[in-house]
Symmetry: C2
């Protein structure tokens, strides 16, 4: 009953108004699996270079994270260098070195081909579709993340894989450019026609909007006094959201709402420190405590 | 047990991607009173010129809105001309003609000086303080709205009146420039030192954040498919929020949360049509229905 996740594992050089870190663990699959594994075992399919050492593997050890699908090949790992201004709302990409990621062709281990839950992280939609085709049977649900680079540059391939997708996770500008609609309710209607019946719009510090055929749900971000590095917040959200959904084994509106809160809580840890530092030390007790705090905050009794 | 509101009554020329309207009723006190009067009788203190005719007074008739404090003087009414781009998130001011508003010195009718609830709309903070001084006794609470123009140009006067204020309603950029803090939790701590123990941050399409000594509350905006004109949304929110608080006669966290939802629901009507057009036709049944819909949307049962 694992959650299979395809994505990137990378090294990041980050600068925010609170400091800078070089050569730290990053990549969508890293944040995703560290977050999701609190709820469901995760199998990771990604690629790293020879610079990925024992100290990096160690981050995933002792957790229900299966790295059997993490290929290590000749060359250097994917590397991203980014900087944030004072408002922390948008990263400026300074450098992107795809390195071994440029030749990444995900190959699913045999045992992963029957995974009941599949998350297609933000990679070339042609590869995302190829992963779907490698599955021995259709998963109970398929979730997908993408970005404007693919929406603008590989729209046809993206529309092809979206036909297979149940849950689409994107940010506001991606939802708008994919649908051609500024209004998010209209954007959802359009995206539903492409395939995904559930749309999750990540709005950063403004929270998350969830659109489903059963109804909508809106959640704010968890208010934090100290936000030091927003890198990985979206992937951490996706991990908490989909990890919770997989553990609930349901995608009805009630489960989706709770998953949204869980994803939001997980992301709130990530942004408190650089990279995966805070996420690595989160315990179930921390999650439970913050979830209770968040619930107290957003619910009105007597309603 | 009226709610006393000091602000502007104006004529607006508006252009949005959905059309344009000229010479329509606007101003903070118009939106505020039309919204708040669904919950509490409102007494309006404002000024208009001789161009304010019977057809304009008629909009307020048949509602518990007392215009005894609406001075009509020689000259033309305050006029604002604004335009919105495709994202509707920010108005571009094309023209501002203060006209009779330039000489506005609010004088409270005798009977208004004992009002238990006072809303100081966005006017010169020196005048806001003068209104506070005209009160025969301290209201149970005083709420205040302001803008960057005063924060930047009349900071000392603003800080002076803020000492008297219980509830501050501002948008994100105003909260940040007033406090000098980008992070809203930190901004709240700072603003609390200035006087207001309750901070309401209006975030437009992203909803509202509420900060109180008892805890925080975050509400998303009501998701609408058709948003035609955001003018007056913030003032309508303030009317629903403070009208509900006055009717509840409590500003504990529970009342503040419900007031936030009520303000959000009221604002959702305003933005569906130009100016006050939709707000004028709202019935208690509409409000109740949308409040129920909104509650269903944002609450997770079993929490």
């Amino acid at each position: 009953m694992s959650l299979l996740a395809v994505g990137s594992v990378a090294f990041d050089d980050l600068a925010t108004p609170f400091g800078r870190r070089e050569n730290i663990l990053g990549g969508s699959a890293s944040y995703f699996s560290l977050s999701a594994s609190h709820f469901r075992p995760v199998e990771v399919v990604a690629v790293v270079g020879q610079d990925f050492g024992p100290e990096h593997f160690k981050v995933f050890e002792g957790r229900p994270i299966d790295l059997g699908g993490l290929a290590q090949v000749a060359g250097e790992s994917f590397r991203w260098k980014g900087a944030y201004g004072n408002d922390l709302s948008e990263a400026k990409t300074l450098e992107t070195h795809l390195n071994v990621f440029a030749g990444f062709r995900p190959v699913l281990p045999e045992r992963s081909r029957t995974a009941p839950f599949l998350f297609l992280g933000n990679i070339d939609p042609t590869l995302q579709l190829d992963v779907v085709k490698q599955m021995a049977r259709r998963p109970r649900w398929i979730a997908l993340d993408t970005m404007n680079f693919w929406i603008e540059g590989a729209k046809d391939a993206l529309l092809e894989v979206l036909k297979e997708v149940d849950i689409l996770l994107v940010n506001e500008s991606e939802a708008r450019s994919l649908s051609g609609e500024h209004n998010l309710v209209k954007a959802y209607r359009k995206i539903k026609e492409f395939g995904p019946r559930i749309l999750v719009v990540k709005r950063g510090e403004h929270g998350v909007s969830l659109f489903t055929p059963e109804g909508y749900f809106m959640a704010s971000a968890f208010p934090l006094e100290e936000v030091h590095d927003p890198t990985g917040a979206g992937d951490t959200f996706a991990g908490g959201f989909l990890g919770y959904l997989a553990s609930a084994n349901s995608i009805d509106l009630q489960s989706l709402k709770k998953a949204t809160l869980m994803g939001t809580v997980m992301a709130s840890f990530t942004v408190e420190a650089f990279g995966t530092a805070r996420l690595e030390t989160v315990t179930p007790a921390h999650i439970q405590e913050r979830m209770q705090h968040f619930s107290d905050m957003i619910f009105v009794s007597g309603n």
